[in-house]
């Protein structure tokens, strides 16, 4: 998902019997469905895993503005442009909610920014694909935000209070994103032949990268087992991916578009769709920095940060000056 590969402690979750008294009380609190709040005691592994996940999630929202930002000045109508602007502004907001939730664990915003800019922290693989034509804005909203919702809805029940509350706000806003995407897809699919071909092309390019968003199968992963015991992660990746395919296939049918998977078929027995796995080699390449747009995305973030330095410094200098003159006046 937005956080596709969150490494946890690397070992299996401890059994209640092998836990210290503090760890046991902590785990039982989570098992009772109670929330963990910033100043509560927590195992170091919980704090670190959570920071990694929230960091990846926040960075994804921020980098996720770039593929769409590309089309703000190229939107076909003023209405589409204002809608896209509002959506991109929401992504910035989502990034900020998540950074602010992560900061409650004692990591500074600048530290997190530094990790993103240096390439040390990850963000979702999906944003390393280019957006080549206008209907990609439709596909991104429909598929990418659709996949994001799949994962974010259960995260509203995650064990860490500030993270769960941030997710509640995000989910409220995310539905607009998906619908505006589908709205674009409808316009394109029911438009001229050429428009429909563009919509099909977008679906062809974004289908598998969207399936990759859920991350590789993790039913055997010790990292996921620990995260699930801590309720930082709620569902297995395959579970959510299946749900996404089941939800999306009929929508594609409605649009009269073909999902680029010959194996995609409703299975009467399992009552879900059979589908082909994405190319996981490609996924690992993209996530480790070798996707089509990794360099461009990071360069854009670094440029924005560097170009804004004089402005941030100026703001701070101005407020320090005002404070000093206030003190002098007193």
């Amino acid at each position: 998902m937005y956080a596709q590969e969150v490494k946890s402690t690397g070992s299996k979750p401890k059994s209640l019997n092998s836990m210290s008294a503090k760890e046991k009380a902590f785990q039982e609190k989570i098992d009772r469905g109670q929330r963990i709040e910033p100043k509560d005691w927590m195992p170091e592994g919980y704090r670190r895993t959570l920071l990694r996940q929230m960091g990846q999630h926040a960075h994804s929202e921020i980098v996720g503005q770039l593929p769409e930002g590309n089309w703000i000045s190229r939107a076909p109508t003023l209405e589409r442009k204002t809608i896209l602007l509002a959506k991109v502004q929401d992504e910035a907001g989502h990034g900020l909610y998540l950074y602010s939730a992560a900061e409650t664990l004692g990591k500074s915003r600048d530290e997190m920014t530094k990790e993103l800019l240096s390439g040390r922290a990850k963000y979702s693989s999906i944003f390393n694909y280019p957006t080549l034509n206008w209907s990609d804005m439709g596909a991104v909203g429909w598929l990418v935000d659709g996949a994001a919702i799949m994962n974010q809805v259960p995260l509203q029940r995650t064990s860490y209070g500030p993270y769960a509350r941030a997710m509640v706000r995000i989910c409220k806003e995310e539905s607009f994103h998906q619908r505006q995407g589908f709205d674009i897809m409808m316009k394109m699919s029911f438009g001229s032949k050429k428009q429909k071909a563009m919509a099909q092309d977008s679906l062809n390019r974004f289908w598998y990268p969207s399936l990759m968003m859920f991350g590789p199968s993790d039913s055997e992963s010790v990292h996921s087992a620990q995260s699930m015991a801590w309720k930082i992660k709620i569902n297995f990746n395959d579970e959510l991916r299946q749900k996404f395919v089941d939800q999306t296939a009929p929508q594609a049918e409605y649009l009269g578009l073909t999902i680029p998977d010959e194996k995609l078929k409703w299975n009467e027995k399992t009552e879900q769709y059979d589908y082909s796995e994405p190319n996981w080699e490609e996924f690992f390449e993209v996530i480790s920095g070798n996707g089509p747009c990794n360099t461009e995305r990071l360069a854009a973030r670094n440029k924005a940060w560097d170009d804004g330095e004089w402005f941030r410094d100026g703001l701070l200098a101005n407020s320090t000056k005002n404070q000093n003159s206030q003190i002098a006046a007193e």
């Binding site: 709040e37 100043k39 509560d40 005691w41 509002a86 502004q89 929401d90 907001g93 900020l96 909610y97 602010s100 939730a101 900061e103 500074s108 915003r109 600048d110 920014t113 530094k114 500030p162 509350r165 941030a166 706000r169 409220k172 806003e173 941030r312 410094d313 703001l315 701070l316 101005n318 407020s319 005002n322």
Partner: protein, 94 residues
């Protein structure tokens, strides 16, 4: 990155006459910028009628691990609840 902007906590009063509620935090150089940013980050869909911004460093919080002794005094005073008192059924409207 030595110059991180100070952190502010944001409280919003919603549409229905409820109290201001904590919604999150943000970074800003001063109160004016914090107010503008709070509007942009937390009320994009008309969620609020009023905003408070408070420097995070000014907030004094109780310590969760000491919640026992802190809240203990109120635990044994069950006579503060109306259900403590038995009123005969024939007595009405009380």
């Amino acid at each position: 990155m030595a110059n991180e902007l100070p952190l502010w906590e944001v409280f919003i009063r919603g549409q229905h006459g409820t109290a201001h509620r904590h919604v999150g935090s943000l970074h800003a150089t001063d109160a004016g910028m914090a107010m503008n940013n709070a509007r942009d980050v937390y009320t994009r869909r008309n969620e609020g009628l009023s905003i408070w911004v408070v420097p995070s460093s000014e907030i004094v919080a109780s310590i969760p691990s000491k919640k026992g002794p802190l809240f203990d005094p109120s635990k044994d005073k069950i006579y503060r609840h109306p259900s403590f008192y038995n009123i005969p059924v024939e007595v009405k409207k009380i």
